[in-house]
Every structure is written in C-alpha cells, then in structure tokens.
C-alpha cells in the first residue's frame, strides 16, 4: 500500500475516532431524549422501532462506503474507521431488535417465535440480524488472527448479503403501504456502493480473471 496521502493526515488525528464515536451516538441520544420528554409523537414505540431500523440501515451504508471512498479518494486512512462503523451498525440493529421485542412483543419469546413464523418480513429481519451478529463477533483482532486474513475476508463478505436482506426487510415493511420512495433511495445507495466495488475490482485486477470477465461482457 502506498504511503498515507498527505491530504488525509487529519484522519489520523488522535481525536478522529472519539469524534466519530460521539457522532454515531447522537441518534441514540436524540431518541432517548425524545422518549424522556414525550417528543416522539403519538406513537413513540413505533417511532423508536422505525428510527433504530433507519439508523441501522444508514450506518450499514456508511460502513459499506468506507472501502470505495478509501480507494476513489486515495485516502487509506479511512480504513481505520470501518470497524467502528460496522460495530455501530450492529449496535443499532441490537436496539432495533430490542425495541421490537420489547414494545411490540412484550419480550414474550413464544410471541416472537410465532411472529417470525407468521410474518416473512420479520424472518428476513431476524436473518439479517444473525448475519450482523456473525460479523460483529468476528470483528476483533484475536478472531481475525485465528481465522486468518483470507478466511476472515470471506466471512465478512456476508455484509453484502446482510445489506440486501436489510433492504428486502425494509421493502417488505413498506410494501404494506406501497410507499417505496425511501426504499428506492437506500436501494440506490447500496447498489451504487456494490457497483463501485465491482468497478474497483475490475480495475485493480488486470490479471487473467479480470480480462476474461471483460472480454465476456
């Protein structure tokens, strides 16, 4: 890898990670404050469930944006924020799940099991959560070393599947009211980020595999 680009030196500042950490906590603070002051509208439980879901999706997009941006902007320093963003994605997913389980299901395991069986979009949401759980657990250095870099990378490609499932979950939820504007927005973002990866991979792999692919298409 080339030496870190000079224009990205500020990203290496000691305060950069704590600042990002604080920024990622802001939505949570805002929701807690709203819940405490009655500022979440007529249906605060629904607002909490939906907002934590929205933030999971937003952070997932941000996490997926790190690698393409790092390469496109020649800012290798960005890589040091990827794990934190990924773990915050997982943290908001945990909150999303807890809000659903608590507010909608009264923390009743039997009700939740029944709901998963009955409503496909809940099943998809749970599957997404299971994938994010795998990614979160394997995100720490000792596990990376234990798995070995290549295997670790293969496991973490599951994030693409998680993003697609999260979109399906969101789409299915909105399909009830046929309101697809936001789904389309997030879908476009995720598609653009995945496409960027494909293009970068094609550019970076001028070897046999890449050329064969290019000739075929």
């Amino acid at each position: 890898m080339a030496a870190p680009a000079a224009h990205g030196r500020w990203l290496l500042h000691r305060a950069a990670k704590p600042v990002l950490f604080a920024l990622c906590l802001l939505p949570l603070c805002w929701l807690v404050l709203g819940a405490a002051t009655g500022g979440l509208g007529a249906n605060p439980a629904e607002r909490l469930i939906r907002s934590t879901g929205d933030w999971t999706l937003r952070l997932l997009c941000l996490t997926l944006a790190v690698t393409p941006l790092r390469k496109l902007l020649a800012l290798p320093q960005l890589a040091r924020f990827r794990r934190m963003l990924g773990l915050f994605t997982f943290a908001y997913a945990v909150l999303h799940l807890l809000c659903y389980a608590g507010f909608d299901m009264g923390l009743d395991a039997a009700d939740i099991a029944h709901d998963i069986a009955q409503r496909p979009f809940i099943l998809v949401g749970m599957s997404t959560f299971a994938l994010l759980l795998v990614l979160a657990v394997t995100s720490f250095q000792p596990l990376l070393r234990w798995l070995g870099g290549r295997r670790w990378q293969r496991v973490h490609r599951l994030v693409y599947l998680a993003a697609c499932l999260a979109l399906l979950h969101f789409f299915w939820m909105r399909a009830g009211k046929r309101d697809f504007a936001e789904v389309l927005l997030y879908g476009t973002i995720v598609a653009a980020l995945l496409l960027a990866r494909v293009l970068l991979w094609l550019r970076a792999a001028p070897g046999a595999q890449g050329r064969r692919f290019l000739r075929k298409t």
Partner: protein, 328 residues
C-alpha cells in the same frame, strides 16, 4: 374539566375541554397583543397554518349524546393532539405527520356531495344541506387502524341511513361506493401513484344502513379538522380505518361490489370487507393485538384486538353464515 350529561347519568368526556378554554383564551390575548408588528405578521401566518391543530380553534358543532346501541364507549378518548397529528390521509402524503402539516391547503367550502346511481331521487347535496339533514349526535367510537394501532374518537354526525333514505335506493342497489376528493392543486399526494386516485371505498348496502355507520361532520365538539376528513366523511367503527372514507364528494349506489382503493392496490392484503378480525393476520401487522395511542406511555402492554373491534353484538349478524377468513 369534564362537562356532564346528567340526563342519562353518563359522563362522556367532552373533547372541546381537552385544551382548557382559559389556556386557549390566553393564547388569543397574547396573539392579539402582538398583532401589528412585523414579527407578528409572521407569527400570525404560522398560527393560521396550525389551525386544525388545537381544540378550541375550529367552529363548534352542537350535538346530543347518541342513543344508538354501542355508540358511546366508556373508554378514554385519545387526546385531540394525537387524533389530529397521527393520521393516514395519503392525499396529503404518506407520513403520518403529513396530513396535519399540509391539509390546511384543502378548501372545504363550497362543497357538494353528489349522490346517484341506482336511486330514485339522485341529488347533489350542498354541505350546508347535509349539516341540517338530521339531528347531530355525538358518538364515541373505537378506531382500529390496519397498522395495529387504535384510538377512541368522539365523532359528531348522524347515521348514514338518514341520507340513504332521502335518495331512495332501488331494489337492485346492493352496494354503495364513496369517492373522495382528489385535487392535484391542493393535495400533493395525488401526484404520486401509491394508490389509484380518487380514493374510493365501499360498503354493502346493509352495512351502510347499519345505525352505527356514521356520516361524520365533526369531532371533539367541533367541525372536522381537514386532516381528519373535513367537511364530511363516513366512520365505520367495526372495520379497519381505511374503510372510513374522508372528504367525500360522491356516493354511488351500485349492483356489483365496487372497487376500493386498497383492495385494488393489494388485493391479498386488504379485502373488500376488512372487518376488524384478530384471526386474520396481515403480512406486516399482527392483527391479534393493537397499541392504543397515548395509553400509559411507552411500556404499556398492547391490547387484545376484539372481533369487529368490539362491536360484534351490534354487527356480527350482518355476516351470518359468511366465512370471514375468506371474505376478509
């Protein structure tokens, strides 16, 4: 701060009291005190926009408590604020805060309702004629949305049957279809294609004639706010909320089951009947339970949803012999 209807010993909460009159009067004084300044001009503009938003803001609509069986639930009414700021009215946008924000654009006068189809006396009613057609009653109904939340609303109006008798449906009329306003100039939502516009709904004629089926003009002691379906709507308390068409401009009596907006949009999810039924789940919302808006804060347990939204004693007979899982 409750007015008592001592005549029957029953104590229905009177909604116009939710924002105490004194509080409201103080706000008025304050507004008047500031009127005149440049700052004031902008404040007044904001005040006018928020008009539908407060009890005590709209014209009062006098009514007597209804004597119709089942029309006066003792449950605590939802706050006016919640009932007017958490609405589905897709003509104004799909977010539940959109109607409160944008419905002020709708013009509710002049307003006519064209009633026709298979009737002997088709007629276009002016809204003022409709207001005088039958004595106004206050009815406190549970409202159950298909999205699994519920409210309790004190409506004002009279049984739709009073209007139906005036136009004299012919023997061949089996259904009535409602068509609601779809005005591109004042309703941004109808530019999108989430639903087929104008929004249509329908009832079987015996459902429409049931005394609980209300033609509503007001709520909480006042005329309807725009976001709740001004100036005239129907309220069918044993069906999911979307069956209760708002801001109605046309009623047609027909022989065949008419198309209804949500049924056309997603046939498998929204049936023509759409009676509240905890045993028929929706793919996105369990219908077994519901969240009562404004009840006991965030950690309140959800309520069990009742068949026909608790109106089974009054309406179950309409569906005798029908498989309600098939005719959902």
């Amino acid at each position: 701060m409750r007015a008592r209807h001592s005549s029957d010993g029953f104590d229905p909460p009177v909604p116009s009291e939710i924002t105490p009159a004194a509080t409201y009067a103080r706000r008025r004084e304050w507004l008047q005190a500031v009127a005149g300044g440049a700052l004031l001009a902008s404040l007044a503009g904001r005040g006018a926009r928020a008009q539908g938003a407060r009890a005590g803001k709209l014209a009062p609509l006098a009514a007597k408590p209804s004597a119709v069986a089942g029309a006066m639930t003792m449950e605590k009414p939802t706050s006016y604020q919640d009932a007017t700021h958490y609405n589905n009215f897709y003509e104004f946008g799909s977010d539940k805060s959109d109607p409160a924000e944008f419905a002020y654009k709708m013009k509710t006068r002049p307003w006519t309702v064209e009633v026709g189809g298979l009737v002997n006396k088709p007629r276009t009613f002016d809204i003022d004629d409709l207001l005088k057609l039958s004595p106004m009653e206050e009815r406190i109904y549970r409202l159950r949305c298909v999205e699994a939340w519920s409210m309790v609303i004190p409506w004002i109006g009279y049984s739709l049957s009073a209007l139906i008798e005036r136009v004299q449906p012919q023997g061949s009329a089996k259904y009535v279809q409602f068509e609601t306003l779809a005005d591109r100039a004042t309703m941004d939502g109808v530019r999108g294609n989430i639903l087929q516009w104008p929004y249509t709904e329908g009832l079987r004629l015996d459902e429409a004639r049931h005394p609980l089926t209300l033609l509503a003009f007001g709520m909480y002691g006042e005329v309807l706010p725009n976001q709740n379906g001004a100036p005239v709507r129907v309220v069918v308390p044993w069906k999911y909320g979307f069956k209760s068409a708002k801001s109605i401009v046309r009623m047609r009596f027909v022989e065949k089951e008419p198309g209804t907006a949500w049924n056309i949009a997603a046939q498998h999810e929204y049936g023509f009947y759409s009676n509240v039924n905890p045993d028929v789940p929706h793919p996105r919302w369990s219908q077994a339970t519901e969240r009562r808006i404004g009840e006991d804060g965030l950690f309140a347990r959800r309520r069990k949803t009742l068949p026909f939204n608790g109106y089974a004693d009054q309406v179950a007979g309409l569906y005798a012999g029908m498989d309600l899982k098939k005719f959902y």
